[in-house]
Symmetry: C2
Subunit: 369 residues, 2 copies
Amino acid sequence: MTNTDDLLPIGLEDRLPTEARQVTHAMRTALQAMDSHGYDRVRPPLIEFERSLAGRMDGVQTRNLFRFVDPQSLRTLALRSDMTPQLGRIASNGMAQAPRPLRLCYAGEVATMTADQLDPARQRLQLGAELIGSDTVAAAAEIVMLAVEAVEATGATGISLDFTLPDLVDVLADGAFPLAPDAVEKVRRELDTKDAGGLVAAGGEAYLPLIHAAGSLNEALEKLRAVDAGGALATRIDGLQQVAARVGDRARITLDPTERHGFEYQSWFGFTIYAEGARGALGRGGTYMIRGSEEPATGFSLYLDALLPALPASESAQILFLPPGHDAEAAARLRAIGWRTISALSEQDNPADLGCSHVLDGQNAVPLT
Amino acid sequence: MTNTDDLLPIGLEDRLPTEARQVTHAMRTALQAMDSHGYDRVRPPLIEFERSLAGRMDGVQTRNLFRFVDPQSLRTLALRSDMTPQLGRIASNGMAQAPRPLRLCYAGEVATMTADQLDPARQRLQLGAELIGSDTVAAAAEIVMLAVEAVEATGATGISLDFTLPDLVDVLADGAFPLAPDAVEKVRRELDTKDAGGLVAAGGEAYLPLIHAAGSLNEALEKLRAVDAGGALATRIDGLQQVAARVGDRARITLDPTERHGFEYQSWFGFTIYAEGARGALGRGGTYMIRGSEEPATGFSLYLDALLPALPASESAQILFLPPGHDAEAAARLRAIGWRTISALSEQDNPADLGCSHVLDGQNAVPLT
């Protein structure tokens, strides 16, 4: 019966009932956590002009987008690969007049034409929040805690955070450790890959101690303080400590001050979030400037697919079988207090085969024997 | 600040907070109604092979799909324009071994490259249920009631149903009112447009009374009985009456027995559902055979965008402002009982501007004065 048309393309898959229930439950509980902190959900469309999706933010690669020519506008449209630029567009246009700070959240499917090396998936369920109009330490602390609470709400445990300082090299190059303009990008790259030899070759010898200033937050901050000739990093170090104080013991925190991959558009602060049992990182966040409107913002994104293996099994309600000729009002009353029901379509329907645990007998739910 | 890249393509739009809250609430309540009747949600991907989406069902026009060549398989992929064929694929493949009748539901975004004449939207939020393994009167009654309950759950009122008999011409042509094989399609078309002259010209004079057998269910059934020479339609008429009996007074019912537009793949029974204040029809359903597996099924789809104008305004919880230095535990306790909170990021944040109705004072929520 199966033929190749019935298969799905590589990297695209169905979520059948058990997984669909888990993913949906995780999405709703995480959205509820964001809603309770005053984040209003918006629903941008699946498709936009390619330039709108790719132009608003570094790190979106147009060649990785599903693209097509729009017969109406004769312009290139693309399927979104990331909802963050859509939120930036909404904040700068449809909600330009809304009071700041503006708190928005979102959840939706995103897709890329090619997968990345570690994960074959070409579609993911993205969820996140944006705090628009602020990139202060207070904003960073709020967003980090919101990410932690959103992940906690899904039932995942063992949460950890890895902080980074995306603009570290820019700050130091302007001050304590000057670099020729054409060396800045090279130094950034060598620090990102932690290549000591390459760093020296790029003229970044002064930056060598940064390679080792990674690890658990307090130890790493100690090393960073030792590097901080002239106090150029004092406000960064202080900011990280304030954010960490808000997190308290709700997540383990590490620092990798020179991590840059995935933080191309972040400014002073970035973080990655993990949970025990999850497949790689759950998501990332940080402070940034919205392109075009040049408004400061702080936000995060989570990918629920990565979270799936870390989630507790979600329970379906017990199912009550409604035999032919059952009392429809009694069944409606039981549904109203949380029962799921399955109604017989014929005398042949077998309650046990259909996953039912109980049968309606008169007004009462009786366990299947 | 706005430039053309910030605009959305025609037919694609953002749902900003008020509408997003309404649509999301309607989707969840409708899904909850389906869940309570034992329908398990599945989440198929946004994208599939074009042939898988278009080949499984009549009425899906490939030239209306957003299509692209997959660099991995070198085959044509398409963005789904309808989730129903995806459910048919799941039932016939991933869930081929699950016991029948199989009850599945779904909700998700669908998109078409061109809009239809009446509605410029190119993306819609589709939601529906499929009862797989049965197309009996009992199955039709269950699905019609499920559609009514799903719409009721969203808060919409004034629900009405328009029934149709999609295979009526085939049944009559095989019996009481024989037609030459090449006349069947012409007669169907003339009946669909209710063109009496065209119908006679197509050799379908015997079918003329059907044009007038439309209207409120009981009157229309009366006329249909008069047409029913030889009793060929007796089981159809009886089936419609049984379905209508299940609906009772929860929806007004009309019958248009020759309506065919939108029911190209339905077998003996089809229906359209409406609600007061909605923009056109909310959705359609009926009995059909799943292509490929040739398994009988009954199902319906709703489009929540059409429902939006009919929905009651959804209320956001009252918002509690948390001033700088507030009691974080008191705030968490209040969130746990349903408050939304907005935390001050600086001394400048103004609770009234941010939409707050209350301020946290010590442990207590105090109305803003």
